[in-house]
């Protein structure tokens, strides 16, 4: 059973519908016990880092998420809050991945970074990248980006390098929206569900 953490964000149902397409059993929940018992945990997120972290604190889920040992996938903002901190509202994150999330410095390019961009495979051995090829396109929409460090498994480019898939130990994240990235996104979700 996959637990999708219900952070009351707008894209929760889109994520749930995509999990349905992988044909994996799931539930949407804020119950710490259900989350601890789940085989996999997904943390969706759109909006503001501060609002998202506030909600996790209110629900008492910050220590719960940090202590998880099963595969965890943060999506978009759900990935950004895995890091130590974010420039967005100068917000402390979950501190699971090292570094600070910063505004994209795409000089002269429109922000948000919105649309279908290509993937570079920084760590082709990543289990999330099974069946994914160089220059496959996925759908991004964001204005902040994670740091380019050892956690990066795949990246994209928009004025600068943008971490696209990240991970360390049992924690993973996608900056793009796999639930809105066609067959490529579905493959990545299936890879996660198969961990």
């Amino acid at each position: 059973m996959i637990a999708v953490i219900d952070t009351a964000v707008a894209n929760l149902n889109s994520v749930i519908y995509a999990i349905q397409r992988t044909e994996t059993p799931f539930c949407a929940t804020t119950d710490p016990e259900v989350i601890r018992q789940a085989s996999h945990v997904i943390l969706p997120g759109v909006g503001h880092a501060q609002a998202s972290m506030r909600r996790l604190h209110e629900l008492g889920l910050v220590p719960v998420i940090r202590a998880l040992t099963q595969p965890v996938l943060g999506i978009c903002l759900g990935m950004q809050i895995l890091y130590d901190s974010s420039e967005e509202g100068d917000t402390p994150g979950l501190g699971i991945l090292p570094g600070r999330v910063a505004k994209i410095s795409a000089a002269g390019l429109p922000l948000p970074h919105m649309g279908w961009n290509t993937l570079r495979l920084d760590d082709p051995s990543s289990p999330l990248l099974r069946g994914i090829f160089l220059d496959d396109r996925v759908y991004f929409v964001h204005s902040f980006r994670a740091p380019m460090n050892a956690a990066v498994m795949a990246s994209s480019f928009y004025g600068e390098e943008i971490p696209a898939i990240v991970g360390r130990d049992n924690f993973f994240g996608t900056q793009f929206h796999p639930e809105r990235s066609g067959p490529v996104g579905l493959s990545i979700l299936r890879n996660f569900c198969a961990l």
Binding site: A10, N11, L12, N13, S14, Y17, A18, Q20, R21, V46, G47, H48, L77, P110, L111, P112, H113, M114, G115, W116, N117, T118, R137, Y139, F140, V141, H142, S143, F157, Y158, H177, E179, R180, S181, G182, P183, G185, L186
Partner: protein, 255 residues
Amino acid sequence: MLAKRIIPCLDVRDGRVVKGVKFRDHVDLGGILELAQRYRDAGADELVFYDITASAEKRTVDTSWIEATAQVLDIPFCVAGGIRSVDDARRILHAGADKVSINSPAIEHPDLIDQLAAEFGIQCVVIGIDTLVHDGDYYIWKYTGSESTAQNAGRRTLDWVREVQDRGAGEIVLNCMAADGTKQGYDIEQLNAVRAICRVPLVASGGAGKMEDFYTAFSTARVDAALAAGIFHRGEVQISDLKHYLDSKGVIVRL
């Protein structure tokens, strides 16, 4: 590299996709799910659904078709028409739409843009702008859903473009009314003027008649996406042909 987006726009009325000439004489084009999947399979990068019932009759958008669409669609989609409040937007976004597009209600209550951006993030907030040249300047129009209600809103388009960005628009769809329906090409001059001051993604709308029109919008006006309805619905341009054509001209697209 980020791809330029091709966005078919589908007018929705009473659960069906329709097409009319200047909002009259609607022809039924098919079911929403059927057309959404057909355009997805044809290579559309994103879809816009314009709920003309909700907009014209001041009704709230029925969300049942949005949920059904979100279940089958694995590309992003935006819902426009009839969104007048944060609650309206919440119902649509929670049903599974990725973005909401606001036009006349944003002109009446510009604060709505700030509220939507604060509540959902700017990536959800698209501002649609209907614009027309008048006395040598560009002006925004409101209530353009029918000829009897359409009126000049009395504001310069470029001022409005600046304001909506400051308030939290995450994307701007510029619908150039004089070009709309003419099939004579996008209004490149006006798109250029807006592009020069637009820091968020800009979508060209109105006037696409042939594949070259898309190329000009991307290469000359440097828009991020191009929206069209009629030429796709009538089958005059196939999205896959269009993308291969653009690719051959050096425009980055998702093939």
